[in-house]
Protein backbone atom coordinates (compact mmCIF):
# COMPACT_ATOMS: atom_id res chain seq x y z
CA UNK A 1 0.00 0.00 0.00
CA UNK A 2 1.36 3.39 -0.88
CA UNK A 3 1.06 5.86 1.91
CA UNK A 4 1.86 9.54 1.52
CA UNK A 5 4.07 10.85 4.28
CA UNK A 6 4.36 14.52 5.09
CA UNK A 7 6.94 15.66 7.65
CA UNK A 8 5.46 15.43 11.13
CA UNK A 9 3.36 12.36 10.35
CA UNK A 10 3.59 9.20 12.45
CA UNK A 11 5.44 6.32 10.87
CA UNK A 12 3.86 2.91 10.89
CA UNK A 13 6.66 1.22 12.82
CA UNK A 14 6.92 -0.79 15.98
CA UNK A 15 9.25 1.12 18.26
CA UNK A 16 9.73 -1.81 20.61
CA UNK A 17 11.71 -3.63 17.93
CA UNK A 18 14.86 -2.73 16.04
CA UNK A 19 14.45 -0.04 13.45
CA UNK A 20 16.97 0.91 10.77
CA UNK A 21 16.53 4.40 9.48
CA UNK A 22 16.89 5.07 5.77
CA UNK A 23 16.77 8.33 3.81
CA UNK A 24 14.00 10.70 4.82
CA UNK A 25 13.74 9.43 8.38
CA UNK A 26 15.58 11.17 11.17
CA UNK A 27 16.07 10.66 14.85
CA UNK A 28 16.05 14.00 16.58
CA UNK A 29 19.21 14.19 18.69
CA UNK A 30 17.47 16.06 21.50
CA UNK A 31 14.11 14.39 21.80
CA UNK A 32 15.14 10.98 20.40
CA UNK A 33 11.92 10.86 18.42
CA UNK A 34 12.00 9.01 15.13
CA UNK A 35 10.15 11.01 12.53
CA UNK A 36 9.87 11.47 8.78
CA UNK A 37 11.57 14.65 7.60
CA UNK A 38 10.83 14.53 3.89
CA UNK A 39 7.59 14.32 2.01
CA UNK A 40 7.25 11.15 0.00
CA UNK A 41 6.02 7.58 0.02
CA UNK A 42 6.51 5.51 3.14
CA UNK A 43 8.54 2.37 2.58
CA UNK A 44 8.88 -0.15 5.40
CA UNK A 45 10.47 -3.55 5.05
CA UNK A 46 10.41 -6.01 7.89
CA UNK A 47 13.41 -8.30 7.70
CA UNK A 48 15.26 -10.62 10.02
CA UNK A 49 17.18 -7.84 11.65
CA UNK A 50 14.16 -5.71 12.28
CA UNK A 51 12.41 -3.01 10.34
CA UNK A 52 13.95 -0.87 7.69
CA UNK A 53 12.12 2.35 7.05
CA UNK A 54 12.74 4.97 4.42
CA UNK A 55 10.83 7.60 2.50
CA UNK A 56 10.78 7.56 -1.27
CA UNK A 57 11.24 11.04 -2.70
CA UNK A 58 13.11 12.94 -5.36
CA UNK A 59 15.54 15.81 -4.90
CA UNK A 60 18.34 17.65 -6.62
CA UNK A 61 20.95 18.46 -3.97
CA UNK A 62 23.26 15.57 -3.14
CA UNK A 63 24.40 14.95 0.44
CA UNK A 64 27.28 12.42 0.56
CA UNK A 65 26.61 9.00 2.11
CA UNK A 66 29.11 6.17 2.49
CA UNK A 67 29.22 3.69 -0.36
CA UNK A 68 27.64 5.95 -2.97
CA UNK A 69 29.08 5.93 -6.48
CA UNK A 70 29.65 9.48 -7.59
CA UNK A 71 30.94 11.50 -10.54
CA UNK A 72 32.97 14.49 -9.41
CA UNK A 73 34.96 17.35 -10.88
CA UNK A 74 38.50 18.02 -9.64
CA UNK A 75 38.51 21.65 -8.50
CA UNK A 76 41.80 21.90 -6.64
CA UNK A 77 45.00 20.06 -5.79
CA UNK A 78 46.72 20.10 -2.40
CA UNK A 79 49.82 18.48 -0.97
CA UNK A 80 48.21 15.11 -0.44
CA UNK A 81 44.73 15.25 -1.85
CA UNK A 82 42.48 16.67 -4.52
CA UNK A 83 39.48 18.80 -3.82
CA UNK A 84 36.50 17.43 -5.68
CA UNK A 85 33.10 18.96 -6.30
CA UNK A 86 30.16 16.58 -6.40
CA UNK A 87 27.62 19.32 -7.07
CA UNK A 88 28.10 23.01 -7.78
CA UNK A 89 28.02 25.12 -4.57
CA UNK A 90 28.01 22.10 -2.25
CA UNK A 91 30.82 21.68 0.24
CA UNK A 92 33.75 20.06 -1.59
CA UNK A 93 34.94 16.55 -0.75
CA UNK A 94 38.51 15.32 -0.71
CA UNK A 95 40.16 12.61 -2.76
CA UNK A 96 43.44 11.46 -1.26
CA UNK A 97 46.40 10.72 -3.53
CA UNK A 98 46.59 7.39 -1.75
CA UNK A 99 43.06 6.44 -2.73
CA UNK A 100 44.14 5.22 -6.17
CA UNK A 101 45.19 1.73 -7.24
CA UNK A 102 48.91 1.11 -6.80
CA UNK A 103 49.30 4.42 -5.04
CA UNK A 104 52.48 5.13 -3.13
CA UNK A 105 54.34 8.22 -1.98
CA UNK A 106 56.27 8.16 -5.25
CA UNK A 107 53.50 7.17 -7.56
CA UNK A 108 51.21 10.17 -7.60
CA UNK A 109 48.02 10.34 -9.62
CA UNK A 110 48.10 12.77 -12.51
CA UNK A 111 44.65 14.31 -12.51
CA UNK A 112 44.26 17.91 -13.53
CA UNK A 113 41.82 20.58 -12.43
CA UNK A 114 38.63 20.21 -14.41
CA UNK A 115 38.99 16.45 -14.87
CA UNK A 116 36.06 14.17 -14.14
CA UNK A 117 36.46 11.17 -11.86
CA UNK A 118 34.26 8.25 -10.98
CA UNK A 119 34.62 7.38 -7.33
CA UNK A 120 33.04 5.93 -4.23
CA UNK A 121 32.27 7.84 -1.05
CA UNK A 122 34.34 6.28 1.75
CA UNK A 123 33.64 8.55 4.70
CA UNK A 124 30.76 10.91 5.20
CA UNK A 125 30.41 12.40 8.66
CA UNK A 126 28.09 15.35 8.60
CA UNK A 127 30.46 17.50 10.66
CA UNK A 128 33.52 16.71 8.54
CA UNK A 129 34.55 16.99 4.94
CA UNK A 130 33.51 13.82 3.14
CA UNK A 131 36.12 11.68 1.41
CA UNK A 132 35.94 9.71 -1.80
CA UNK A 133 38.22 7.04 -3.24
CA UNK A 134 39.04 5.81 -6.72
CA UNK A 135 39.91 2.30 -5.66
CA UNK A 136 38.00 -0.69 -4.42
CA UNK A 137 39.55 -0.99 -0.98
CA UNK A 138 38.78 -4.71 -0.73
CA UNK A 139 40.63 -5.67 -3.91
CA UNK A 140 42.96 -2.76 -4.40
CA UNK A 141 41.82 -2.65 -8.02
CA UNK A 142 40.47 0.32 -9.89
CA UNK A 143 37.16 -1.51 -10.48
CA UNK A 144 36.09 1.05 -13.02
CA UNK A 145 36.84 4.03 -10.79
CA UNK A 146 39.17 6.80 -11.82
CA UNK A 147 39.49 9.41 -14.56
CA UNK A 148 36.66 9.77 -17.06
CA UNK A 149 38.21 10.89 -20.30
CA UNK A 150 36.33 12.96 -22.87
CA UNK A 151 32.64 12.40 -23.24
CA UNK A 152 29.92 14.58 -21.83
CA UNK A 153 28.35 15.00 -18.44
CA UNK A 154 24.83 15.98 -17.49
CA UNK A 155 22.87 16.72 -14.34
CA UNK A 156 19.71 14.80 -13.53
CA UNK A 157 17.58 14.43 -10.43
CA UNK A 158 18.89 12.09 -7.74
CA UNK A 159 15.94 9.73 -7.99
CA UNK A 160 16.47 9.31 -11.73
CA UNK A 161 20.18 8.61 -11.23
CA UNK A 162 19.37 5.98 -8.61
CA UNK A 163 16.84 4.33 -10.90
CA UNK A 164 19.35 4.23 -13.70
CA UNK A 165 22.06 2.75 -11.51
CA UNK A 166 20.21 0.31 -9.30
CA UNK A 167 16.91 -0.58 -10.91
CA UNK A 168 17.59 -3.47 -13.23
CA UNK A 169 14.15 -3.18 -14.70
CA UNK A 170 14.73 0.44 -15.70
CA UNK A 171 14.76 0.20 -19.50
CA UNK A 172 16.66 3.30 -20.54
CA UNK A 173 20.18 1.90 -20.80
CA UNK A 174 18.99 -1.12 -22.72
CA UNK A 175 17.04 1.12 -25.08
CA UNK A 176 20.04 3.39 -25.59
CA UNK A 177 22.21 0.44 -26.48
CA UNK A 178 19.89 -0.31 -29.37
CA UNK A 179 20.77 3.03 -30.90
CA UNK A 180 24.50 3.37 -30.35
CA UNK A 181 27.56 2.10 -28.58
CA UNK A 182 28.40 4.01 -25.43
CA UNK A 183 30.34 4.09 -22.20
CA UNK A 184 28.49 5.42 -19.18
CA UNK A 185 29.23 6.29 -15.56
CA UNK A 186 26.30 7.04 -13.31
CA UNK A 187 26.83 8.95 -10.10
CA UNK A 188 24.08 8.98 -7.53
CA UNK A 189 25.03 12.62 -7.00
CA UNK A 190 22.94 13.24 -10.12
CA UNK A 191 25.81 13.44 -12.58
CA UNK A 192 25.85 11.08 -15.53
CA UNK A 193 28.85 10.80 -17.79
CA UNK A 194 28.47 9.34 -21.22
CA UNK A 195 30.86 8.78 -24.10
CA UNK A 196 30.19 7.51 -27.58
CA UNK A 197 32.16 7.30 -30.75
CA UNK A 198 31.01 10.56 -32.24
CA UNK A 199 29.53 13.88 -31.28
CA UNK A 200 26.21 13.19 -32.89
CA UNK A 201 25.52 10.07 -30.84
CA UNK A 202 26.67 11.72 -27.63
CA UNK A 203 24.38 14.61 -28.33
CA UNK A 204 21.46 12.30 -28.98
CA UNK A 205 22.18 10.36 -25.78
CA UNK A 206 22.52 13.63 -23.84
CA UNK A 207 19.19 14.93 -25.02
CA UNK A 208 17.44 11.60 -24.64
CA UNK A 209 18.58 11.08 -21.07
CA UNK A 210 17.52 14.57 -20.07
CA UNK A 211 14.16 14.18 -21.78
CA UNK A 212 13.56 10.76 -20.28
CA UNK A 213 14.24 12.13 -16.81
CA UNK A 214 11.12 14.24 -17.22
CA UNK A 215 8.86 11.55 -18.64
CA UNK A 216 7.45 8.24 -17.43
CA UNK A 217 9.17 5.02 -18.44
CA UNK A 218 6.66 4.01 -21.07
CA UNK A 219 7.49 7.04 -23.20
CA UNK A 220 11.25 6.49 -23.17
CA UNK A 221 11.43 4.37 -26.30
CA UNK A 222 9.67 6.93 -28.43
CA UNK A 223 11.77 9.78 -27.00
CA UNK A 224 14.93 7.98 -28.00
CA UNK A 225 13.66 7.26 -31.46
CA UNK A 226 12.71 10.86 -31.96
CA UNK A 227 15.99 12.31 -30.76
CA UNK A 228 18.21 9.99 -32.76
CA UNK A 229 16.12 10.52 -35.85
CA UNK A 230 16.23 14.30 -35.49
CA UNK A 231 20.00 14.29 -35.40
CA UNK A 232 20.32 11.95 -38.34
CA UNK A 233 18.09 14.22 -40.36
CA UNK A 234 20.11 17.25 -39.39
CA UNK A 235 23.08 15.80 -41.20
CA UNK A 236 21.41 15.55 -44.57
Amino acid sequence: MLRLIVPGDKLDIDLTKNVSLGPGVYCDPRTQIIQPVNAGIENIQVGKRGQIVHIDYDSKRYVPAVGDFVVGIITGAFADSYRVSLASFSSPVSLSYMAFPNASKKNRPTLKIGDLVYARVCTAEKELEAEIECVDSTTGQSSGFGLLEGGMVMDVSLKFARNLLFDEKFPLLRLLSQHCKFEIAIGVNGKIWIKTEDTKDTLACYKSILDCAKHPVNEHASILKRNFKALLNAIE
Binding site: I73, T75, F89, K112, G114, E149, T199, L203
Partner: protein, 306 residues
Protein backbone atom coordinates in the same frame (compact mmCIF):
# COMPACT_ATOMS: atom_id res chain seq x y z
CA UNK B 1 29.15 36.49 -8.47
CA UNK B 2 29.67 34.52 -5.34
CA UNK B 3 30.96 31.27 -6.67
CA UNK B 4 30.92 29.88 -10.12
CA UNK B 5 29.16 26.89 -11.49
CA UNK B 6 31.79 24.22 -11.99
CA UNK B 7 32.17 22.90 -15.50
CA UNK B 8 34.48 20.01 -16.23
CA UNK B 9 37.07 20.15 -18.99
CA UNK B 10 35.35 17.27 -20.74
CA UNK B 11 32.05 19.09 -20.85
CA UNK B 12 33.64 22.31 -22.06
CA UNK B 13 35.50 20.50 -24.79
CA UNK B 14 32.43 18.65 -25.87
CA UNK B 15 30.25 21.74 -26.08
CA UNK B 16 32.82 23.71 -28.09
CA UNK B 17 33.57 20.62 -30.17
CA UNK B 18 29.90 20.21 -30.99
CA UNK B 19 29.70 23.87 -31.96
CA UNK B 20 32.51 23.30 -34.44
CA UNK B 21 30.30 20.65 -36.01
CA UNK B 22 27.46 23.18 -35.86
CA UNK B 23 25.48 21.46 -33.10
CA UNK B 24 24.11 23.16 -30.04
CA UNK B 25 23.15 21.25 -26.93
CA UNK B 26 19.51 22.18 -27.16
CA UNK B 27 19.36 21.37 -30.85
CA UNK B 28 18.88 24.93 -32.01
CA UNK B 29 20.69 26.35 -35.03
CA UNK B 30 23.23 29.12 -34.46
CA UNK B 31 20.84 31.87 -35.51
CA UNK B 32 17.81 30.65 -33.66
CA UNK B 33 16.33 32.80 -30.93
CA UNK B 34 14.42 30.87 -28.29
CA UNK B 35 10.67 31.18 -28.34
CA UNK B 36 9.60 34.14 -26.24
CA UNK B 37 6.63 33.65 -23.94
CA UNK B 38 5.07 36.78 -22.55
CA UNK B 39 2.45 36.61 -19.82
CA UNK B 40 0.67 39.51 -18.22
CA UNK B 41 -0.42 39.57 -14.61
CA UNK B 42 -3.56 40.96 -13.06
CA UNK B 43 -2.25 44.48 -12.76
CA UNK B 44 -1.18 46.76 -15.57
CA UNK B 45 2.55 46.56 -16.15
CA UNK B 46 3.08 43.15 -14.57
CA UNK B 47 4.93 41.04 -17.12
CA UNK B 48 6.58 37.64 -17.00
CA UNK B 49 8.90 36.78 -19.88
CA UNK B 50 10.17 33.28 -20.44
CA UNK B 51 12.79 32.26 -22.94
CA UNK B 52 13.44 28.56 -22.58
CA UNK B 53 14.14 28.11 -18.89
CA UNK B 54 15.08 31.76 -18.39
CA UNK B 55 12.41 33.64 -16.47
CA UNK B 56 12.27 37.36 -15.85
CA UNK B 57 9.49 39.26 -14.13
CA UNK B 58 8.99 42.98 -14.46
CA UNK B 59 6.70 45.18 -12.49
CA UNK B 60 6.04 48.75 -13.56
CA UNK B 61 4.73 51.17 -10.96
CA UNK B 62 4.27 54.89 -10.67
CA UNK B 63 3.74 57.59 -8.10
CA UNK B 64 3.47 61.34 -7.94
CA UNK B 65 6.63 63.13 -6.92
CA UNK B 66 8.70 66.22 -7.51
CA UNK B 67 10.79 66.49 -10.69
CA UNK B 68 14.50 67.13 -10.69
CA UNK B 69 15.27 70.80 -10.35
CA UNK B 70 17.21 70.99 -13.59
CA UNK B 71 14.52 69.14 -15.53
CA UNK B 72 11.20 70.66 -14.53
CA UNK B 73 9.34 69.37 -17.60
CA UNK B 74 10.32 65.78 -17.24
CA UNK B 75 9.02 62.97 -15.13
CA UNK B 76 11.26 60.40 -13.52
CA UNK B 77 12.00 57.00 -14.96
CA UNK B 78 14.02 54.44 -13.11
CA UNK B 79 14.95 50.88 -13.94
CA UNK B 80 16.19 48.83 -11.06
CA UNK B 81 17.72 45.43 -11.59
CA UNK B 82 18.71 43.42 -8.60
CA UNK B 83 19.73 39.83 -8.67
CA UNK B 84 19.15 37.34 -5.88
CA UNK B 85 20.20 33.73 -5.36
CA UNK B 86 16.78 32.84 -6.72
CA UNK B 87 18.09 33.08 -10.27
CA UNK B 88 20.81 30.61 -9.35
CA UNK B 89 23.15 30.26 -6.37
CA UNK B 90 25.94 31.92 -8.35
CA UNK B 91 24.20 35.25 -7.85
CA UNK B 92 24.81 37.09 -4.66
CA UNK B 93 22.34 39.04 -2.64
CA UNK B 94 22.10 42.76 -3.21
CA UNK B 95 25.71 43.46 -4.07
CA UNK B 96 25.50 43.70 -7.80
CA UNK B 97 28.77 45.46 -8.37
CA UNK B 98 30.43 42.51 -10.06
CA UNK B 99 31.35 42.81 -13.73
CA UNK B 100 28.50 40.84 -15.26
CA UNK B 101 25.75 42.40 -13.23
CA UNK B 102 26.96 45.94 -13.88
CA UNK B 103 27.04 45.24 -17.60
CA UNK B 104 23.53 43.76 -17.54
CA UNK B 105 22.04 46.74 -15.75
CA UNK B 106 23.98 49.27 -17.83
CA UNK B 107 22.91 47.73 -21.11
CA UNK B 108 19.25 47.62 -20.12
CA UNK B 109 19.58 51.19 -18.94
CA UNK B 110 21.13 52.33 -22.23
CA UNK B 111 18.76 50.32 -24.37
CA UNK B 112 15.59 51.65 -22.80
CA UNK B 113 16.10 54.67 -20.60
CA UNK B 114 18.90 56.48 -22.38
CA UNK B 115 17.46 55.77 -25.78
CA UNK B 116 14.31 57.63 -24.79
CA UNK B 117 11.92 54.74 -25.29
CA UNK B 118 9.65 56.26 -22.67
CA UNK B 119 8.33 59.76 -23.21
CA UNK B 120 9.42 61.34 -19.93
CA UNK B 121 8.01 64.73 -20.85
CA UNK B 122 4.59 63.12 -20.93
CA UNK B 123 5.04 62.32 -17.26
CA UNK B 124 5.06 65.96 -16.26
CA UNK B 125 1.96 67.03 -14.33
CA UNK B 126 2.72 70.53 -13.08
CA UNK B 127 6.00 71.87 -14.40
CA UNK B 128 8.61 72.08 -11.70
CA UNK B 129 6.46 70.83 -8.90
CA UNK B 130 4.69 67.57 -9.70
CA UNK B 131 5.37 64.72 -12.03
CA UNK B 132 5.03 60.98 -12.31
CA UNK B 133 7.91 58.79 -11.31
CA UNK B 134 7.74 55.56 -13.28
CA UNK B 135 9.68 52.67 -11.93
CA UNK B 136 10.51 49.36 -13.56
CA UNK B 137 11.54 46.64 -11.14
CA UNK B 138 13.29 43.81 -12.92
CA UNK B 139 13.26 40.52 -11.02
CA UNK B 140 15.57 37.82 -12.29
CA UNK B 141 13.88 34.56 -11.43
CA UNK B 142 15.66 31.79 -13.27
CA UNK B 143 18.90 32.19 -15.16
CA UNK B 144 19.46 30.03 -18.20
CA UNK B 145 21.24 32.67 -20.26
CA UNK B 146 19.96 35.68 -22.12
CA UNK B 147 19.07 37.83 -19.11
CA UNK B 148 19.69 41.02 -21.05
CA UNK B 149 17.46 40.06 -23.95
CA UNK B 150 14.67 38.76 -21.74
CA UNK B 151 14.79 41.74 -19.36
CA UNK B 152 14.72 44.21 -22.21
CA UNK B 153 11.65 42.55 -23.71
CA UNK B 154 10.01 42.41 -20.29
CA UNK B 155 10.67 46.06 -19.46
CA UNK B 156 9.50 47.43 -22.77
CA UNK B 157 6.46 45.14 -22.81
CA UNK B 158 5.74 46.23 -19.24
CA UNK B 159 5.95 49.91 -20.17
CA UNK B 160 3.68 49.39 -23.16
CA UNK B 161 1.20 47.44 -21.07
CA UNK B 162 1.23 49.77 -18.09
CA UNK B 163 -1.42 52.38 -17.50
CA UNK B 164 -1.12 55.15 -15.00
CA UNK B 165 -4.13 56.54 -13.15
CA UNK B 166 -5.88 59.46 -14.77
CA UNK B 167 -5.46 62.84 -13.16
CA UNK B 168 -7.25 66.14 -13.05
CA UNK B 169 -5.26 69.29 -12.45
CA UNK B 170 -6.84 72.36 -10.88
CA UNK B 171 -4.05 74.89 -10.73
CA UNK B 172 -1.76 73.36 -8.20
CA UNK B 173 -4.21 70.84 -6.93
CA UNK B 174 -4.00 67.41 -8.45
CA UNK B 175 -6.62 64.73 -8.12
CA UNK B 176 -5.52 61.21 -8.86
CA UNK B 177 -8.46 59.08 -9.91
CA UNK B 178 -8.43 55.49 -8.72
CA UNK B 179 -8.39 52.86 -11.47
CA UNK B 180 -12.02 51.91 -10.91
CA UNK B 181 -13.22 55.47 -11.10
CA UNK B 182 -11.70 56.53 -14.39
CA UNK B 183 -10.06 54.65 -17.22
CA UNK B 184 -6.30 54.85 -16.66
CA UNK B 185 -4.03 56.21 -19.39
CA UNK B 186 -1.13 54.41 -21.09
CA UNK B 187 2.42 55.75 -21.13
CA UNK B 188 3.93 57.37 -24.17
CA UNK B 189 6.26 54.93 -25.88
CA UNK B 190 8.44 56.54 -28.53
CA UNK B 191 10.11 53.45 -29.93
CA UNK B 192 10.48 49.79 -29.06
CA UNK B 193 14.08 48.73 -28.49
CA UNK B 194 14.83 45.01 -28.41
CA UNK B 195 18.16 43.45 -27.49
CA UNK B 196 19.74 40.47 -29.21
CA UNK B 197 22.85 38.93 -27.72
CA UNK B 198 25.48 37.06 -29.70
CA UNK B 199 28.05 34.83 -28.08
CA UNK B 200 31.39 34.19 -29.74
CA UNK B 201 33.54 31.10 -29.56
CA UNK B 202 37.03 30.69 -30.87
CA UNK B 203 37.48 27.25 -32.39
CA UNK B 204 41.17 27.85 -33.13
CA UNK B 205 44.00 29.17 -31.02
CA UNK B 206 44.41 32.76 -29.99
CA UNK B 207 47.11 33.53 -32.55
CA UNK B 208 44.89 32.52 -35.43
CA UNK B 209 42.11 34.70 -34.03
CA UNK B 210 44.28 37.78 -33.78
CA UNK B 211 46.66 37.44 -36.70
CA UNK B 212 44.85 35.07 -39.01
CA UNK B 213 42.63 35.91 -41.91
CA UNK B 214 40.36 32.91 -41.72
CA UNK B 215 37.63 34.48 -39.53
CA UNK B 216 36.45 31.09 -38.39
CA UNK B 217 35.01 32.43 -35.14
CA UNK B 218 31.61 31.03 -34.22
CA UNK B 219 28.78 33.38 -33.41
CA UNK B 220 25.60 32.03 -31.85
CA UNK B 221 22.43 33.88 -30.92
CA UNK B 222 20.75 33.72 -27.52
CA UNK B 223 23.14 31.48 -25.61
CA UNK B 224 21.98 29.28 -22.75
CA UNK B 225 23.67 29.43 -19.37
CA UNK B 226 26.25 26.75 -20.20
CA UNK B 227 27.12 28.47 -23.47
CA UNK B 228 27.40 31.79 -21.66
CA UNK B 229 29.81 30.31 -19.14
CA UNK B 230 32.07 28.99 -21.88
CA UNK B 231 31.93 31.80 -24.41
CA UNK B 232 34.97 33.87 -25.35
CA UNK B 233 33.15 37.04 -26.21
CA UNK B 234 29.74 38.62 -26.29
CA UNK B 235 27.96 41.27 -28.30
CA UNK B 236 24.60 42.78 -27.45
CA UNK B 237 22.91 44.86 -30.10
CA UNK B 238 19.73 46.78 -29.49
CA UNK B 239 17.63 47.76 -32.45
CA UNK B 240 14.18 49.07 -33.13
CA UNK B 241 11.85 48.66 -36.03
CA UNK B 242 12.94 51.98 -37.53
CA UNK B 243 16.21 50.28 -38.46
CA UNK B 244 18.01 52.26 -35.79
CA UNK B 245 20.87 50.83 -33.81
CA UNK B 246 19.96 51.92 -30.30
CA UNK B 247 22.91 50.52 -28.52
CA UNK B 248 25.78 48.15 -29.24
CA UNK B 249 27.91 46.69 -26.54
CA UNK B 250 30.87 44.47 -27.13
CA UNK B 251 32.84 45.06 -23.99
CA UNK B 252 36.08 43.33 -24.84
CA UNK B 253 36.30 39.61 -25.21
CA UNK B 254 37.22 37.76 -28.38
CA UNK B 255 38.25 40.20 -31.13
CA UNK B 256 35.81 39.90 -34.02
CA UNK B 257 35.98 41.01 -37.60
CA UNK B 258 34.03 44.21 -38.20
CA UNK B 259 32.12 42.74 -41.12
CA UNK B 260 31.09 39.77 -39.05
CA UNK B 261 29.77 42.17 -36.42
CA UNK B 262 27.82 44.01 -39.09
CA UNK B 263 26.37 40.72 -40.20
CA UNK B 264 25.26 40.08 -36.62
CA UNK B 265 23.44 43.41 -36.56
CA UNK B 266 21.56 42.55 -39.74
CA UNK B 267 20.63 39.12 -38.40
CA UNK B 268 19.39 40.76 -35.23
CA UNK B 269 17.08 43.03 -37.20
CA UNK B 270 14.93 40.20 -38.49
CA UNK B 271 14.62 38.87 -34.95
CA UNK B 272 13.64 42.17 -33.39
CA UNK B 273 11.04 42.73 -36.09
CA UNK B 274 9.37 39.49 -35.13
CA UNK B 275 9.52 40.11 -31.38
CA UNK B 276 8.23 43.67 -31.70
CA UNK B 277 5.17 42.39 -33.54
CA UNK B 278 4.69 39.68 -30.95
CA UNK B 279 4.72 42.19 -28.09
CA UNK B 280 2.29 44.54 -29.83
CA UNK B 281 -0.09 41.71 -30.67
CA UNK B 282 -0.02 40.15 -27.25
CA UNK B 283 -0.73 43.45 -25.55
CA UNK B 284 -3.62 44.04 -27.91
CA UNK B 285 -5.02 40.63 -27.09
CA UNK B 286 -4.57 41.11 -23.38
CA UNK B 287 -6.40 44.41 -23.47
CA UNK B 288 -9.21 42.79 -25.45
CA UNK B 289 -9.43 40.05 -22.84
CA UNK B 290 -9.66 42.63 -20.08
CA UNK B 291 -12.35 44.55 -21.93
CA UNK B 292 -14.42 41.40 -22.20
CA UNK B 293 -14.05 40.74 -18.51
CA UNK B 294 -14.89 44.29 -17.62
CA UNK B 295 -17.96 44.28 -19.83
CA UNK B 296 -19.08 41.11 -18.13
CA UNK B 297 -18.65 42.67 -14.72
CA UNK B 298 -20.41 45.89 -15.54
CA UNK B 299 -23.36 44.08 -17.04
CA UNK B 300 -23.64 42.07 -13.87
CA UNK B 301 -23.56 45.23 -11.83
CA UNK B 302 -26.21 46.74 -14.01
CA UNK B 303 -28.36 43.72 -13.39
CA UNK B 304 -27.83 44.00 -9.65
CA UNK B 305 -28.79 47.63 -9.72
CA UNK B 306 -31.99 46.97 -11.56
Amino acid sequence: MAKDIEISTAEAQFIVGALKERYRLDGRSFDEFREVKIKFGNEYGDVMVEMGETKVHVRISCQVTQPYEDRPFEGLFLISTESTPMAGPQFENGTNTSGDEVLISRIIEKAIRRSGALDVEGLCIVAGSKCWAVRANVHFLNCDGGFIDASCIAVIAGLMHFKKPDITVHGEKVIVHPLDEREPVPLGILHIPICVTFSFFNPQDTEENIKGESNQEIAIIDATLKEELLRDGVLTVTLNKNREVVQVSKAGGLPMDALQLMECCHKAYSIIERITDQIINQIKEDYKEREKYKALLSSENARDAS
